[in-house]
Symmetry: none
DNA sequence: CATGAATGAGAATTCATTCAT
DNA sequence: GATGAATGAATTCTCATTCAT
């Protein structure tokens, strides 16, 4: 249910150069987009020499593909773990919300790159494997349908639309924070508590709606 | 409340070359991103010689700026019109949902480019003018807060978060359609009815929530 | 039986840029080899801007391939014309020798590039089409075998070996001249008479041999 | 009169790394040309780490120079030995043909590299020392002129042209075999007998010519 | 207005060479 | 000695922009 904050430490004490480059690339891609980023930007961001990038990666595209494969698969595993839990659908959706929000909080660049750049290159949507979006929808959709069957969620709402609202709400909630429309700087917990509150609000709206102002009293 | 389907006709019967180029540019930018698009791509898409692009636009960046100025301002005007209506908040939110969904449906490329490319280039966020996202949030936020004050909407939900959930839900609802996760092919109305249904579902979830499965019965 | 001295004039008065680049490339390749030649060298040799080369050719390899296709096919046509003549084998071989020697004389670079660079890249030996060398051997071999059948040439010599000796003799005769081991500067006919004498000598040795010194008296 | 089949054994039983690298370099240069070959290609061909190449050779050019110095000087010594023999010119020419053909047979790459790459780099033609080709022509030319003076060979043929025909015939005879135009697979002697036959044919044509078909009967 | 050839700065990629381990 | 990571200059290739026709 958590995404590793740093990846350099995965393979021991030595900072793995492949990881180092990948992390730098994510930050740079998030900032300027894939096409707007130069290899030299990535190298500078990683603090290494120009040509070394090519020692580890064949070309720019392979870097993007590696980002996808590594980061997304880890994320998806965590999601699948949540979906498989035996708890009520509402609880699992809260976990999903918290996972996504925390991923955004800890590594907003990851999500930006995964969402924007990879969706764009059809290369990655190889036949047989669903693309990233479809996978995410699939997992959330399963939780929602499961909840509908168990009578925990309304059945008169299309599960597909419901789950896109849920995911979309989360996405934009964070995007707006990232873009500075809202502020997250509350306390010195790095925003964790705040994001948890956002997660609960999202779920609250998703489950009970915002209508019927009398309730608000 | 509607977005013009074709823009070439705005300035008369003759297909204005400036519009022709702009429309082509939007399609190309949506496909490959700003940096990934070549002037020659735009020219080919527009069916003209590529030297001609420079007769009408100073350079590539001016094309992007023009897209923003023309398309977004029209969209924002329509939004402001809805916000100013004297109807209940719920009705205005339905109008907003329908507007956004229809814009997506008629011109998905517009939204992609407006959302992704323009957010990316800080050039456009000139001091004094809020960027596109902030403007959209601002309008929707005003409707929500207005509804809370009138007692039409719950007051215990943060208005900012609520409105991002609303917009985000709409955004992803469409994105998933665009990406082919869901299907819209119902009748020969170009999907209009279907999108209206989606708009109502989004609003339904937003207002009443999906929780409490017993209701579904 | 002649090879055009200049190719720029082929398509009229306007100097065809594709030809211009090709001619420049041949000179540069002959001087430094394919791998040793830079695109900038070719551009400078042709007197044009760097990037223009890429306006006409996709990349460096396509230039080499074009050289081969254009130059070799013209050469081979001339050879086939000679082989089809109804004259004695000896006369046709003299024509072949003169053709090859004249090609060398007028455009030594062509032959260098054709012989050295193209033989090296297996890319050009596409299945179904004989490679350049095999084609040349084939034509000369046909003349030799034809002469043997008519009783004009000895039948106790393997036709394949004989024809390689013939071609090889011609090749090295020129190579040595190109490399400066021998001198060709006789009169102001550009060496034409001298090369004709070489052609006759080659044929003389080929037909009558150099052995039996008593004849020399 | 023979060229060592393997060179690794020259300096004892331990396969000398310098030799190992040189042999690998010859194969790679023959395949891709000097400029088209990378140090890493040579290292891989030799089965060693590529940093190690720089322990034994200062740089890439020194490798080429070493190839030339080692391989060519050995070859030239053998040639000079033949030229100095007191046998008839015809016999010595047969020896030369056999030497060249055997060198080609055992190490076609050597000849390719010596002939093509070294001729190309003017660096090696240091003043005072004739380049490789000139040296070869010089030796063969001496034999031919010697034979003419003794009355063993025709005097009405230019010695220079005659010797280039001879060498050229040999060269192409082999080249055609290397390129697969002819086949050498006779018995399991590695083609030795076949090449001897080619050598005799070359000499036969060179001495007696192929003309006057009546002889063929 | 239209066209597409021409230019050259800039980015991707390669690879000889150095160097720490 | 041996290894392969690290460096960066050199080169290929791309493409925005200009310009002659």
């Amino acid at each position: 249910m958590t995404v590793p904050e740093t990846t350099e430490t995965r393979r021991g004490t030595r900072p793995d150069k492949r990881e180092l480059i990948l992390d730098a690339a994510i930050r740079v891609f998030a900032r300027n987009g894939y096409h707007g980023s130069r290899i030299s930007d990535i190298a500078r961001e990683a603090g290494i020499a120009y040509g070394l990038v090519y020692h580890y990666y064949k070309n720019k595209e392979e870097i993007l593909r590696s980002i996808f494969e590594q980061r997304w698969s880890g994320f998806l595993e965590a999601l699948e773990g949540i979906a498989a839990e035996e708890t009520p659908a509402q609880e699992r959706l809260l976990s999903v919300a918290a996972l996504i929000l925390n991923a955004y909080r800890a590594r907003p660049e990851w999500v930006k790159v995964l969402v924007i750049e990879i969706q764009r290159s059809a290369r990655f949507a190889e036949p047989g494997q669903l693309d990233a979006f479809a996978q995410l929808f699939d997992v959330v959709g399963r939780i929602v349908r499961d909840g509908q069957e168990r009578g925990e969620l309304r059945r008169d709402i299309d599960a597909n639309i419901a789950c896109t609202i849920f995911v979309g709400g989360l996405e934009l909630a964070i995007t707006s924070l990232v873009l500075g429309v809202a502020e997250a700087d509350e306390g010195d917990d790095g925003g964790r508590a705040y994001y948890m509150r956002v997660a609960r609000t999202v779920l609250d709206v998703f489950l009970h709606g915002i209508g019927e102002g009398e309730r608000g009293e």
